[in-house]
């Protein structure tokens, strides 16, 4: 099958402008409006680069853009979508080949829009995108627009960050937040963003994480877990990272270690022993895995003015970017019944939602350790205040836990203290705000208030 045939197959609207690809997924995520804006004028021809792990809905977002444009009577031939991870492609394809495609009916009245999916698989995509954006800016109106997606940021960033300066903006995307999950699962429910009506959906969210594909799937949990493992281990790691030349089998093993110990301190020596690798390789592998955005490091919160050596010694904690990865890779039939797994799921889901809030407010996130046994799970520092968050999967806020969390936060001078727990109690315990996990995930900004 040659490229034009694959492109025709991927762009069915060229032949039938009434065709819509996302009728089954009409709910749109927050990133949709931002991406749509890159098709207009306000970004001065910059490209939008949507970066996120596999399976979080990037392709669907691109196809929703297609449907939106078609609904606005955009000429169908002016919209080109191309998925560079299409299994039918033999060898790497250059984006130039895609841009040169000329479907019949291209109109000069509208910009041509290129929606390029999984672009890290394309040949020399960075120099091409750089020159394509530059050319588009110099060219005649109405010009062209680019929105591209990638799931292995290492490959995306390889020499790309510099040349991308001023030419494209990175837009991060992760799995669904609980509020998004509920809104998409209950489209007819106006209260879904403020309150969990159907408790089944919350349990499902804890079990399968924020992967949209499994949101309302009837498949058993065991099947969903198997699918996530296959998608992530076989595609996101083995396939996507193959081109980096790294030892993907040991990368995969490292990934499984990290996910199984989500929230643990990064222990380079131990991991090097486990994988019979030297530290340099290990550092490369960790960096590659961070690039997939399947794991996220949480740095240690150090006092202002700490020595550079102290900063170097401060090991980060490594978290699964989505708690669904933890349940998928957990060595248990009922992952949430295992206290250890449940605890990690709680922490990873809280971290996922903290990142969402912190990004929009320009805050930083970290963990803090005062002594070996006095720790705060998350410290979010915003321009105007700091928030400390302790997480427990226990259903009651134990006095000892509260006292220790309170003491640690007091010593760090943290203004707002929160204990996220697995029960139903809310309100204040001393000066610590109690937050049931489901309520915290539903509206973390309410608990963090103005940062």
């Amino acid at each position: 099958m040659d490229i034009i045939e694959i492109a025709r197959d991927q762009n069915r609207w060229w032949a039938d402008p009434h065709r819509r690809e996302t009728r089954r997924f009409p709910q749109r995520r927050g990133a949709f409006d931002r991406l749509l804006s890159y098709l207009g004028e306000i970004h001065g021809g910059r490209a939008g680069v949507l970066l996120g792990p596999r399976q979080v809905g990037k392709t669907t977002l691109l196809l929703q853009l297609v449907d939106e444009l078609l609904d606005r009577d955009w000429p169908a031939a002016n919209i080109t979508f191309f998925d560079f991870s299409d299994e039918r492609l033999v060898g790497q394809v250059s984006p130039r080949q895609i841009v040169e495609l000329a479907p019949p009916g291209v109109a000069g009245s509208h910009p041509r829009v290129y929606l390029l999916d999984e672009i890290q698989n394309a040949l020399d995509w960075q120099p091409w995108l750089k020159s394509a954006v530059d050319q588009a800016r110099r060219g005649a109106q109405p010009g062209v627009r680019f929105v591209v997606t990638g799931s292995a940021a290492t490959a995306l960033r390889k020499g790309g960050a510099e040349s991308g300066q001023g030419r494209w903006d990175e837009i991060p995307i992760e799995g669904l937040t609980l509020a998004e999950f509920l809104r998409i699962a209950s489209p007819g429910d106006p209260e879904s963003v403020s309150r969990i009506r159907d408790p089944r959906l919350y349990t499902r969210y804890l079990e399968v994480g924020g992967f949209p594909e499994h949101l309302s799937s009837l498949a058993s949990l065991a099947e969903v877990r198997h699918r996530i493992r296959a998608d992530i281990a076989d595609r996101a790691i083995v396939r996507d990272l193959l081109s980096t030349g790294l030892d993907v089998e040991r990368l995969r093993r490292l990934f499984v270690y990290l996910i199984g110990g989500s929230g643990n301190l990064w222990n380079q020596v131990k991991r090097a022993e486990d994988l019979e690798a030297n530290r340099k390789s290990l550092a490369e592998w960790l960096s590659a895995l961070e690039g997939t955005r399947l794991i996220i490091p949480l740095p240690r919160d150090l006092p202002v003015g700490s020595k550079a050596s102290a900063q170097l010694r401060a090991q980060p904690k490594i978290f699964a970017s989505d708690h669904g990865l933890i349940t998928a890779f957990a060595p248990a039939a009922e992952p949430l019944d295992a206290p250890d797994v449940r605890g990690r799921v709680f922490e990873a889901s809280v971290f996922r939602h903290l990142r969402e809030v912190a990004r929009s407010s320009g805050a930083t996130w970290s963990y803090s350790r005062i002594d070996d046994d006095l720790e705060i799970d998350f410290v979010v520092r915003g321009p105007s205040r700091s928030v400390g968050i302790e997480v427990t999967s226990s259903s009651d806020a134990k006095p000892r836990k509260l006292a220790r969390a309170g003491e640690a936060m007091k010593r760090l001078g943290i203004e707002r203290k929160i204990l996220v727990h697995g029960g139903l109690d809310s309100g204040l315990a001393g000066d610590i705000a109690l937050a049931p996990l489901h309520e915290f995930l539903l509206s973390p900004e309410r608990y963090l208030e103005a940062l």
């Binding site: 007819g188 408790p199 089944r200 309302s216 058993s220 949990l221 065991a222």
Partner: protein, 387 residues
């Protein structure tokens, strides 16, 4: 008599409500059981253990027991083992009063009672005498009991109909089950167990993220004679009464297909919600029920606000196997309790099989034969298994 000072017993005479047994009777507890049965079949009374009677049945001496607490437990175990049908805590209470034991017996709710002692002995109390009941008395007692059972069942159905009518005033899926004879649940004593059932799906044999009555996002609280899980205005709530009646109500959107069409039934939810409630009733019967073969459970079901909803036959996993969906034209669907009566023992042992009867009726009302029920329900084995 529970506040009685044992010293005050001295000089009193046995009568239709008072019996004395000396300390030696502990070695022949069946004698105590016979007296208890006599009171259960009559108007109730007290048996005092550790009180010696003299002439004309007068209490003449108190005989303190060595370890009354141990004896109390042993007597209660014996009574539970030999008296049929089972009695409730309300009907027979065994307590220590100082070094004596008092067995307080109320008139039994399900006579005739018998004691198993080399055969079944039906006994009744007449004044201070314990008599074997005649065949005619036993027959009459059974006839009356049957009448009571029939009446209890009729009352249970009536209560369900009344509740069903009320449920139909709002858009909801509603299901209630009522055991007859009623159970005897002391909600405050059993609160922890009941809360576990309400919050942990596995505890009642249900799926963790299935379409069930269970949720740990709501609180349980006691209101009058009800344990309620979920607030009045909640999307979903469940109640258990002291009588053992279970009522479950949920917004009809709970049984609709997500993300595609609001007005389309999700078949799996139509199966699993009822099954989960039947499984809860099974647990209640096993924990609080009496093993009377004559016990029944009646149920009623309704859905309101479903006009224009369509149901595809078969499972969502195999939508192409079936031809056309059917659209429900009425706004409400109800199954009268007259059509849903189960043997309590069967429900206790095979809740899914009993729920299947309801599901078949619902499918019938929606215009389908039973072969349209999704394959996840193994109708041969009578077991639902989703996921």
């Amino acid at each position: 008599m529970s506040d009685c000072n044992p010293q005050e017993l001295l000089g009193k005479r046995e009568d239709g409500h008072l019996e004395f047994k000396d300390a030696e009777v502990i070695r022949r507890p069946v004698k105590i059981a016979r007296e208890v049965v006599g009171f259960l079949n009559a108007d109730g009374g007290d048996v005092w253990i550790g009180v010696k009677e003299g002439e004309q049945g007068r209490a003449v001496e108190l005989q303190p027991l060595d370890r009354p607490d141990v004896a109390r437990r042993s007597i209660l175990d014996h009574l539970v083992g030999v008296i049929e049908p089972s009695f409730t805590q309300d009907e027979v209470a065994v307590t220590c009063v100082g070094s004596l034991i008092q067995v307080t017996v109320k008139k039994g709710a399900h006579p005739p009672y018998a004691v198993r002692d080399g055969g079944r002995h039906f006994l009744t109390r007449i004044d201070d005498r314990l008599n074997e009941m005649t065949r005619e008395q036993i027959r009459e007692a059974f006839r009356a009991a049957e009448g009571n059972r029939t009446q209890n069942l009729a009352e249970a159905r009536e209560r369900l109909r009344k509740a069903q009518k009320e449920a139909l005033t709002t858009e909801s899926l509603w299901l209630a089950l009522s055991p007859s004879p009623k159970l005897d649940i002391r909600l405050s004593d059993s609160l922890q167990l009941l809360q576990t059932w309400m919050t942990d799906p596995v505890a009642t044999g249900n799926r963790r993220s299935g379409w069930t009555f269970v949720t740990n996002l709501r609180r349980s609280f006691i209101r009058g004679d009800l344990l309620q899980h979920g607030e009045d205005k909640d999307w979903m709530r469940t109640t258990i009464s002291e009588r053992g009646e279970v009522a479950f109500v949920v917004d009809p959107s709970a049984v609709s297909i997500l993300t595609i069409a609001k007005k389309q039934f999700r078949p799996e939810a139509l199966l699993e919600y009822p099954v989960s409630v039947f499984r809860l009733m099974s647990k209640l019967l096993a924990r609080f029920g009496k093993d009377s073969a004559a016990s029944k459970v009646v149920a009623a079901f309704s859905m309101n606000g479903i006009k224009g909803w369509t149901l595809f036959p078969g499972s969502s996993q195999e939508p192409t196997r079936w031809p056309e969906p059917k659209t429900y034209e009425a706004s409400e669907l109800q199954i009268d309790p007259e059509r849903l009566e189960f043997d309590a023992k069967l429900l206790m042992e095979h809740p899914d099989r009993c729920a299947l009867r309801l599901i078949r009726l619902v499918y019938g009302e929606l215009g389908f034969e039973i072969d349209a029920i999704p394959r996840e329900f193994d109708q041969q084995r009578g077991v639902l298994s989703i996921g």
